[in-house]
Subunit: 350 residues, 2 copies
DNA sequence: ATGAAAGCGCTAACAG
DNA sequence: CTGTTAGCGCTTTCAT
């Protein structure tokens, strides 16, 4: 059997042949085994319709026999389509973004795109640095989940020409495409909800990130419009946790024992608040209403069941994936701003 | 100014020049601006020590001026080092693996490696298919978190020659490297712990995955050795959630109201059990002891604080990262099986 | 310390 | 339907 590198270096002495790499099965090997040209192998893999049935069979058999795994790095270099999508989250901990990442990964995977995961932390510097590193991979799309953007980051992203999807937020001036909801409006509606339940002494426990602040603003605006006193706010450092929820709620209650309605910036925080109520024997929702944010999987089965704001995480992920794929395949995305809204799920805690 | 593609196609008419790509800044452009050769640019980026200080300065300025972002795809193709690590999890939901992924991503990121995220689901077919797709990216390492492996998958992985780290488990026959702990022993120790607290009527609520079964086996073995009756087991489908914990625990208790010690296969399940106890006014730990697994962030702040098994997630992630990096840089890993152990954290719930 | 040549493995573009 | 040629952007190897 002829050496498979013979086409490149037919006169090379046997000892100099680079046969070191174990999985160096390439299109050449498959082509030789199948008795076709390399481009036919390439087509059989990426575009089977363009190859006749018998040829396809032979190529497929050759692939199976050689154990060929197409090198997407090489293909991506030439075709300028990496089939890679960079997803940037502040943190995986906290559970807020995992569901979006999960559905994004799944939706992209169905189209042979893979997700490059980046954790930026909650700082701008972290995001910028990460973005730079990720850009080097020439992803076919970038999905930013709930991050703040520096001017430099925006510029760089814009200059790259890579489709960008911002998520978890809504602005009239997205970098490119965006799918999310208005945090300000959400906060407003939650306060309205509490007011409609007769609550008048409102409070907030939330993270200190940008989106939380927007929700808080909306909340306070509704409170003002409703004629009740200005809500008391207790901020904790993002990411939010059950523990911080307990501590934050406790601090809030110690300062303002008369509170009768508290909006928590995440379900984890709300769960912490519920725990604190349990410990202090404060009946919920009789003495105080607790509202969460996120409707994560434990919210409905808590005791009392948590009233919270439902976000369609899955739809965020799927929409972002669709945005990227559409653009990567050359289609134009006409509706680049998608408001997926939210809904207040009224359960036992409020 | 001369067109930057002139070196390739000096006589090409202006209209045919492929100037479409906006971010098509390459080493050539930087080299021209800096007045050096392309290889010098390459070295300035990846190996600054091999370039003289003044040259380095000029190159760096040229990079800044052109906005050059090295194409890692191209570099990876030539150097055969993708600086990509594939991480495979069954699911991100459930929160069990997110912490490992988080620390893995961070530890790898510090060495300019990026994580390619794959979700295999809880089936073998899903894992095999995903593995194949991931292999095409020629990752420098593969981290398998808590998955079951098909024979075919093992073979393929072995044939690829790519460093593989299995995590979250321990076996004497790893594919390559492994960092985890013995689930069987852990289950045994938890039962022992409960027995030492005087509990005699034991039960289990757990997921139906492999590792959970191992823990359950160990648990039952310890129970048998302790001379108490065989533990009652209630399985729920993985991934585990708070809701399934409530339901599973309720079902278990309905069938066996005399239980006085329950081991839950995850903290989420345990939290569900605690909720159910709260609803049924069953005092914990007076009437029944609840032990979780994982010591996730809410465990300590629940009421009562959850007795659980602490796993050093972070160390799993960091060890896996170190394994991969060592191997990728050509170092030999002598200790390829790392047992990170676990510890039972005794809190209020047991 | 710097450069020239070669080519990683694949696919776009154009034949036939 | 199939093949030929060229080259993606970088780094290896070898030279200077």
């Amino acid at each position: 059997m002829r050496d498979r590198f013979s086409c490149h270096a037919p006169t090379l002495p046997a000892t100099k042949q680079p046969r070191s790499k174990s999985l160096a099965v390439t299109v050449h090997d498959v082509a030789r085994v199948a008795g076709v040209s390399i481009i036919t192998v390439s087509r059989a893999v990426t575009n089977p319709d363009r190859v006749s049935a018998p040829t396809l069979d032979r190529v497929r058999e050759a692939i199976a026999r050689t154990g060929y795994v197409p090198n997407l790095i090489a293909g991506g270099l030439r075709s300028r389509r990496s089939k890679l999508v960079a997803a940037v989250v502040p943190s995986l901990t906290g559970g807020v973004f995992t569901e979006t990442i999960e559905s994004l990964t799944l939706a992209l995977g169905a189209h042979d795109y893979h997700v490059l995961l980046g954790q930026a932390g909650f700082t701008q510097a972290g995001e910028d640095k990460l973005l730079d590193a990720l850009l080097g991979r020439r992803p076919d799309g970038i999905v930013l989940t709930g991050v703040m953007h520096s001017h430099e980051g925006r510029t760089r992203l814009l200059a790259s020409g890579i489709p960008v999807v911002e998520t978890w937020d809504l602005t009239s001036t997205p970098i490119d495409m965006i799918v999310g909801f208005s945090h300000e409006r959400l906060g407003f509606d939650v306060a309205d909800f509490l007011l409609s339940r007769g609550r008048k002494k409102l409070g907030i426990v939330s993270g200190d990130d940008d989106r939380a602040r927007q929700r808080n603003e909306g909340f306070c605006r509704a409170a003002a419009r409703g004629g009740v006193r200005t809500p008391q706010i207790e901020l904790v450092h993002s990411p939010t946790t059950h523990e911080k929820g307990r501590a934050g709620f406790a601090a809030l209650l110690d300062k303002h024992p008369d509170l009768d309605g508290v909006f928590c910036g995440s379900d984890a925080l709300a769960m912490g608040a519920l725990t604190e109520c349990l410990v202090r024997s404060i009946p919920v929702p009789e003495d105080i209403s607790i509202v969460g944010h996120g409707d994560v999987n434990f919210a409905a089965s808590l005791h009392p069941p948590l009233t919270t704001v439902r976000i369609d995480y899955d739809r965020i992920g799927r929409t972002a994936a669709q945005f990227i794929i559409d653009r990567a395949e050359g289609r134009t995305v006409d509706n680049r701003i998608v408001d997926i809204g939210y809904s207040i799920v009224s359960r036992g805690s409020a």
